[in-house]
């Protein structure tokens, strides 16, 4: 997908939970567009709807009403397995808690999405080793998560997310569990992936200095987009 083209569109997206009087609207008619190659930070207090929006962006969830289109596909109307396929082909995930499989080596963790793609064992291994090299983890390939620091674990998770060469990287508070120095390293890595690979990144964060790495910040409040600003003082790595 050419850089600059629209990758993600929210058209009056609603997400509601519960029924009748008790209905809660996590998203109340959100309109939003993200272009290919953008690095977007999504902020907002808890309950603002930012996590719901992220789940829909990552094709994990579907809107109750309105249209969510991803790469021109009406992803909100797809069934479970088709969304799984979409995620496997085009979306990479990075979570706050790393979410690596325990007692499984780094390279095996990175190979995981390729298994579901049906890539042959040998090629899988090579691609995983390459991805680990890209995130700067040469020499740690056969360590299990328990043998790695938090920053290293998050690098493994990033390698797992990019090993499939996705179009979109969804990061949910990727530095939430890390100290300042490690946060800086991880954010530099993400920025590099954004510029060098042209990877579109949508990142939820609480911290303004983390959001500052992104080129654009979207703030959610009570299920609406409260503000959508371009970061003039972007941190340049």
């Amino acid at each position: 997908m050419a850089a600059g083209a629209t990758l993600i569109t929210f058209d009056k997206v609603w997400k509601s939970y519960g029924q009748g009087e008790a209905t809660v609207h996590a998203l109340a008619g959100v309109d939003l567009a993200i272009r290919s190659g953008e690095f977007v930070a999504i902020m907002g207090p808890s309950g603002s709807g930012k996590s719901t929006a992220m789940n829909i962006i990552g094709c994990l969830d579907t809107p109750t009403a309105g249209t969510y289109s991803f790469m021109g596909i009406d992803a909100g109307r797809l069934d479970r397995n088709r969304r799984a396929m979409l995620r496997n082909l085009y979306v990479g995930f990075v979570f706050q808690g790393y979410n690596l499989l325990p007692r499984t080596t780094a390279v095996e963790n990175v190979e995981l999405p390729l298994i579901y793609r049906g890539v042959a064992a040998r090629e899988r291994h090579d691609l995983a080793m390459k991805a680990l090299a890209e995130v700067g983890l040469v020499g740690r390939e056969h360590h299990t998560p328990a043998e790695l620091s938090g920053g290293q674990q998050q690098r493994v998770a990033i390698a797992r997310a990019i090993v499939t060469r996705p179009t979109l990287l969804v990061a949910d508070e990727p530095t939430g569990n890390l100290d300042t120095a490690r946060t800086h390293e991880i954010m530099e890595l993400l920025t590099r992936l954004n510029t060098e690979l042209g990877l579109t990144i949508a990142m939820v964060t609480h911290e303004a200095d983390v959001a500052a790495y992104a080129e654009r910040t979207i703030r959610f409040l009570d299920g609406h987009v409260a503000s959508d600003t371009v970061n003039l003082e972007m941190v340049s790595p």
Binding site: N55, G58, L60, D61, R80, N81, A84, M85, R87, N88, L89, G92, F93, F95, N99, L100, L101, R103, L112, P113, I115, Y116, R117, G118, A121, R160, T164
Partner: protein, 405 residues
Amino acid sequence: MIWETVRLSLLSVRRNVLRSFLTLLGIVIGVAAVIAMLTIGSGTTEKVKADISKLGSNLLVVRSGRPAGPGGPGGLDQVVRPLAQKDLAALVAHLSGARAISPASQKQVRVIFGTESLTSGVTGTDSAYLDARDWKLVSGRPFSDSETRSGTGVCLIGETVRQQFFGAGDPEGEIIRVNRTSCKIIGLLEPKGYTGFGQDQDNVVLMPLAAYQRRIAGNRDIESIYVAADDRTPTTELLPRVEDILRDTRRITPDREDDFSIRDMTQIADAMASATTTMTGMLGAVAGVSLLVGGIGIMNIMLVSVTERTREIGIRLAIGAHEKHILIQFLVEATVLSLLGGIIGILIGLALAGLASLTLAIPFAPSPAVILLAVGFSALIGMVFGFFPALRGARLDPIDALRHE
């Protein structure tokens, strides 16, 4: 993909050695019980068949008294007319299809040599007896016709009698005392071991019928007549011929029942073999119930495993696993687990059956069909009882699963 999943599930079995072992225990015990029961059972069946063929295959045994009915042999109201020499003579003269016909009367009698004594089964018979029973001589010779006719004091002894009196020595030509008479040993019978009913078949002394009747029984009766069929004649065909001849010589009018019985040893062998087979089947079925319990154990632990690994399932779903991938993963895991239990169970079951065959002196008869069945069945148990937990894992919502602590 499948191989990958199998490898993965073996890995997860290894990660939780203790729990995997406890899960397997149910299947192991179930399969071991089934295998041991069926193997011991088929060994017993073989043993029974072998024992009965030792008694003589294709053999009819005629005895006096009415045939055994549901209430037991004979009737109390009836005066039993014993078999006599003329019955034997009629069979020898008229019966076709018989390999050997021989009379026998038997009694437990004290046998003495020097200062040693032994209570032994003493049988009065003729030289055709060895052929009828399919017994062989290790050394010496059978009775001659003249010895049989005149009732000379000669005898053939079994291995137990020889060991009691002569140790490893040669008994031929020695004189032993049987009851109040004495007889010269002219031959040694081949050892036959014990029957399945614990009877020593080598604790025997054979002597000419005339000598037995005169010196031991004190009458002219014949207790039984052994009729061995030749190779072309089935016992079922021979039996009615024997019956006809005996009814004729014993002058039994058509309106009256037989006053003798004919037992077909082949049929008895078949009946006993089928009884042990039925018994084996029943024991196997009872053991099979424990397999069911083992299967429930697998289901239980797989449910725990799915709950415990909810987050892992969430990760897998998020990065693109389909429902079927998760389903297959847990199904394979359950199957591998119970298959492993099955294999261990088979080994233990065979070991138990081997031990039993040593202590009970029955043949060790493992059946490849039963073993294959056990392997297949334990895999099936894994699949059936693993399905529900696996489905539960596959149906999880990735968002909830990722949030699971």
